[in-house]
């Protein structure tokens, strides 16, 4: 348990509040007779980073804005910091920070003036200059907001979300429009907030972001939660088969592979894919076969499904029988092609910061 929650006065809230910062049961919301949030359950615990993923129009912003108290709900039970967000007071607002999906800032003020203005709204704000530095706008602090780039505006938005030193921060696509290094910087900021014991609820379309930051992930599709779990275990990812892929050596056919491999081998885009439960054993057999053909399998890759693979599969169209396509389709689903480009993965270093590194197995952590 983090320091912040450990020193929290016991009188502050109920026991559940100390553990569960967001508690949602059977949340429903309709627009024009169409249900866009269809009875979802969510639990966010104090001190965790919770990533909310889902395709465009899945209902993420609708859900987040109900939790923030902006939108009314049509049904269900919602508690945020032990209060119903439909009726909150200034004290509750002071404990919650937020970045809306879209928002423009007052163009007439400078970065420093705007952050200072917002600092004045809160009872115990963070230091303005330090917060500006935290989001990487120190060299822009005297620029007018009108002169900032899109990504810089978004960073300013994040600074405004943090200036009140909130316990809980809602970030609706906070890094959309960031360049890669700005995004990694934002990850460090979010990771450092977690170190301070803050609870972060974020939506994102970037799987590497969820992978790098989230303690837990929920995927919403068409208003329903289709999976929850840690980034590592989501959708049975940890139990998924490894994908071994290579180009066939000249003159060799799939049929010439050792029997145990040829049974499961599939030819796709000129490459052979083998879904292996025991990758070392499969590779051993494959190695012997390849050397026998005088070929080194120069483009051999071994991959595991990335979070993105799982996501794409879980959010794919519902199958005609009404259920979700729970099984990997033979031709698609877990493709190892996505891996060789080596997605960036971030690991928490012992010091608490984030170090990003390119992992050889492509998008996989550890």
């Amino acid at each position: 348990m983090s320091l912040a929650s450990a020193v929290l006065p016991a009188s502050r809230g109920s026991h559940r509040d100390l553990v569960e910062v967001v508690h949602v049961r059977g949340l429903r919301k309709s627009y024009g007779g169409r249900e866009v949030v269809c009875g979802i359950d969510l639990d966010v615990r104090r001190g965790e980073v919770y990533a909310f993923l889902g395709p465009n129009g899945a209902g993420k912003t609708t859900t987040v804005e109900i939790l923030e108290g902006y939108r009314s709900r049509d049904g269900g039970e919602v508690s945020v910091l032990d209060r119903d967000p439909a009726s909150v007071d200034r004290a509750w607002r002071a404990r919650v920070g937020l970045v809306l999906q879209s928002c423009t800032m007052p163009p007439e003020l400078t970065v420093r003036e705007l952050v200072g203005l917002y600092a004045g709204y809160y009872p115990h704000p963070r230091e303005a200059a330090e917060t500006i530095e935290l989001v990487g706008l120190a060299d822009k602090r005297d620029s007018r907001v009108a002169q900032l780039s899109g990504g810089q505006l978004r960073r300013l938005d994040v600074a405004l979300a943090l200036i009140g030193d909130p316990e809980l921060v809602f970030l609706d696509e906070p890094t959309t429009g960031f360049d890669p290094s700005a995004r990694h910087h934002a990850w460090e900021v979010i990771a450092s907030l977690r170190e301070l014991g803050k609870t972060i609820f974020l939506t994102t379309h970037y799987m590497d972001e969820a992978q790098a930051l989230a303690d837990r992930v929920a995927i919403i599709a068409a208003g329903e939660i289709v999976a929850t779990g840690t980034p590592e275990t989501l959708g049975g990812r940890d139990r998924a088969l490894s994908d071994i892929s290579f180009s066939l050596p000249a003159g060799a056919g799939v049929a010439t592979l050792p029997a145990e491999l040829s049974e499961v081998a599939q030819l796709r885009d000129g490459r052979v894919h083998i879904q292996a439960r025991e990758p070392a054993r499969a590779l051993y057999a494959l190695g012997g076969w390849a050397l026998g053909h005088g070929d080194d399998l120069h483009d051999l890759t071994v991959g595991r499904p990335t979070l993105e693979d799982i996501y794409l599969e879980l959010t794919a169209e519902r199958s005609p029988d009404g259920g979700l396509t729970a099984e990997r389709s033979p031709g698609g689903g877990l493709t190892a092609e996505r891996s060789p480009d080596g997605g960036l993965t971030a690991e928490r270093s012992p010091g608490g910061g984030l170090t990003a590194e390119r992992s050889p197995d492509g998008g996989e952590r550890g």
């Binding site: 902006y70 607002r93 809306l100 007052p106 004045g120 009872p123 009140g164």
Partner: protein, 256 residues
Amino acid sequence: MGGVRLFAHQLRADLLRFWRNPQSRYFTVLLPIVFLVIFAAIFKGRTIVDGKTIPITTFYVPAITTLGIISASFVNVTIAVVTQRESGELKRLRGTPLPASFVISSRAVVGVVVAVVMSALLLTLGWLAYGVSIPSSIVGLTIAVVVGAASFACIAFAFSTRVHTADAAAPATNLAVLPLYFISGVFVPESQIPRFLRDIATVFPIHHLAKALLLPFTRTHGAALAGGDLLIVAAWGIAALLLAARTFQWSPHAAS
């Protein structure tokens, strides 16, 4: 931060933003001055007001002050509220502990402050350039300016809910006030306006504000306070505020 300090904090930022905004500087500050100069240049001689013959410039200083006050409060506040609502800024402010009443009242006070400054500017210009004497009842004039500005700021809050895009804010406010300026004794003296148009004008607050501002210039003794007219203006303001309290929008019109 205590209530008063928090309000001052917000007001300071809102005033700064007003001053740095080129659009508000042009429409609110420059335009009334340009109007006074042009009207004074075109129309010469004397006119009859309330049975008294006065120089036409003595009519135009309070008349254009009416326009200046309405630009500072009604036009400026409507544009600010609609622009900030549609950009999502108001919505974001609602997510902070800043009380909603502070957001609203700070806006209104900006309108009143700017209206007072504009009135002083126009008065000074009239005195220096056209020899229009400063009314003896400066108190009566100030009351009329403040009541007018506050009421028209309240009307702006109600009006803003009818304007759905930031681009439409300036044209919509002009559409509302320009015809009324012509028939309410702002652009032309009342004595030159046909009876039936004047009757229409008396329904709306611009006519009454114009009369209340003119009075201190034609009556050189006593308080020169047009109580009845100011009450009608204030009634419009209060009614608009009550309406706004029920209909005011914080979120962009597209998403509610």
